[in-house]
C-alpha cells in the first residue's frame, strides 16, 4: 500500500502521514496538492491533504481538487499545529527569517516582534528549514521534524499565535464506497443560477430536518467575480439522506464523500 502526501520531508502533512500510516505502507511525497490528487486517481492509492486551519482558513488548492476531480473523502484527521523558531545563530545575529506565508500568518504576533530581521517567504515549512541550514545569519519558522532533519537548534518552541492552532486534514481515495455508518458528509453546492435567496433555501433544507452543519465555505466558481460554489460539511443526523435528494431538486450538488469523525492525532 502507498500513501500520497504533500512534501518535501519535514512538512506538517508528512508528520501526520508518519503517525497514521499502516505498517508496511510506503509514503510517497509530491510537490503540490494537485499532484497528490492526480496520484490518488492514477495509481488508485489513498492520499492525505490539508483542508482548513483554525487560524489561516481554507486551503484553496484542496477545495479546488475536490471540486474538479473524482477523488472522494474517506476520513478526516485533526492535528495540533506547533511552530518552532530555529537557527544556528544567536537572536542578535539573525538578519533574515525564512517562513512559509501561512506559517507567517499563524505566527504573526511573534514575528512582528522581530523587527530587526527581514522575512522571506518560501514554498514549505521544510524549505524554510533547508534555507536556514546554509544561509549565514538566518533563522526559520518550521516544524519539529524539519528542525531535526536539518539539525537546526530550536530557539523558541510554540511560536504560533494560538495554542489551539489546529489543521484539519482529509484522506482522499479513488472510487471509494462510503461506510455503512458515516458520521459526517461533505458536499459542494454548484448553483446553476445566481438568484437571491438560493443559499437561504439550501440551508433551509438542512435546518428543517435539524441537520447540523459543521462548516460552510464559499469558493470562486472561476466563472467570473461574484460567482461562487459552497462547500458544506454536515453531520449524519436522522434524515440526512433526504437532504441530498432535496438539494438536488433545487441546485447542482457534487457529493464528496461520507466518513467517520476523527479524534486529534
Amino acid at each position: 500500500m502507498t500513501l500520497a502526501v504533500l512534501g518535501p520531508k519535514g512538512t506538517f502533512s508528512c508528520e501526520l502521514a508518519e503517525k497514521i500510516r499502516n505498517e508496511n505502507e510506503e509514503i510517497i511525497l509530491f510537490p503540490t496538492i494537485r499532484d497528490v490528487f492526480t496520484a490518488v486517481l492514477e495509481k488508485n492509492i489513498r492520499g492525505i491533504v490539508p483542508v482548513e486551519n483554525s487560524e489561516a482558513g481554507g486551503v484553496g488548492e484542496t477545495l479546488d481538487g475536490l471540486l474538479q476531480t473524482e477523488c472522494r473523502i474517506t476520513a478526516e484527521y485533526y492535528m495540533p499545529i506547533r511552530h518552532f523558531f530555529v537557527s544556528r545563530y544567536s537572536p542578535d545575529e539573525i538578519s533574515v527569517i525564512y517562513t512559509h506565508p501561512q506559517s507567517h500568518e499563524q505566527c504573526s504576533i511573534y514575528l512582528n516582534g522581530m523587527k530587526r530581521a527581514s522575512l522571506i517567504h518560501t514554498s514549505s515549512n521544510a524549505q524554510s528549514a533547508k534555507e536556514a541550514s546554509f544561509i549565514s545569519g538566518s533563522a526559520a519558522v518550521t516544524t519539529e521534524s524539519a528542525a531535526k532533519l536539518y539539525d537546526l537548534p530550536i530557539l523558541q518552541k510554540d511560536i504560533q499565535n494560538s495554542l489551539n492552532n489546529t489543521t484539519r486534514f482529509l484522506e482522499i481515495s479513488a472510487g471509494a464506497l462510503d461506510p455503512d455508518d458515516p458520521e459526517k458528509c461533505s458536499v459542494v453546492i454548484i448553483p446553476r443560477e445566481n438568484r437571491p435567496g438560493l443559499l437561504y433555501g439550501i440551508l433551509g433544507i438542512f435546518a428543517q430536518r435539524g441537520i447540523n452543519l459543521t462548516r460552510i465555505e464559499s469558493r470562486p466558481s472561476k466563472e467570473g467575480i461574484g460567482r461562487y460554489v459552497f462547500f458544506i460539511d454536515f453531520e449524519t443526523d436522522p434524515g440526512w439522506q433526504e437532504t441530498i435528494t432535496e438539494l438536488k431538486k433545487i441546485t447542482g450538488v457534487k457529493e464528496l464523500g461520507c466518513y467517520r469523525k476523527k479524534d486529534y492525532v
Copy 2:
C-alpha cells in the same frame, strides 16, 4: 493627500493605485496588508487593499484587518488581472520560474506546461520580476508594470487560466461616514454561540426582505477549529437598515461600511 498601498512597486495594487489616485495624491507603499491598515488608522489617510480574486478566492489578511481594526470600507474597485511571462532568455534556456503563490494558482494551466523549469515562490509579483532580472536562466510570472520596471522582455502575455480573472479591491479609511445613497454594505457576523441553524436564521433576515447578498465568506474566528465568522456583502434594497437592526438581536455584528458600487477600472 496620501494613499497607502501594498508594495513593492510593480504589484497589481500599485497599478490600481496609479489609476485611481487623485491629482497631487502621493502613493506610499507598505510591505504587508496589515501595515496598510495600520497606516490608514495612524495617519488618517485612505488605503487600497485586495479582498477577493475570481480564481483564488478571498484574501485572508484583508478580511482579518477588517475584523480586527476600526478601518471602514468606503469604496470598491474591480480590476482585470493580466499575468505576463517574462524573461531575458529563450524558452529552452529557462530552468527556473519565479512566481507569487497566488499567481501560480491563477496561471496553473500555462505553468503546468513548463515541465522543464522548477518553480520558486516569492512574496509578490514585483519580487518575481526582480529575481528574474538578475538570476541566470530565470523567468517570472509578473505584472505589465513590473516587466517594464525591471526591463524584462514579455515572452507571453495573458497567461492567466481565465480571461475573466478579476480582483476586487477595497478602499479603506479611518473614521469615515457612509454616503447618503449607498448601493452596497459589508458586515461581519460574529456568532456569540455555535448553534445549529444560526446561519439559516441570519440569511432569513435578508431573504424575508428580499435583500440581495452579493457575497458570503466564512473565516476562522481564531478561537479554535470549527468556529467561524461570516463576511456578508449585500445590496441596499429597501429595508436594508432594518436588517442590521434585526441581525443585532440574534448575533454579534460588526458594520464594515456602506459604499457605492464601482465599475471596472
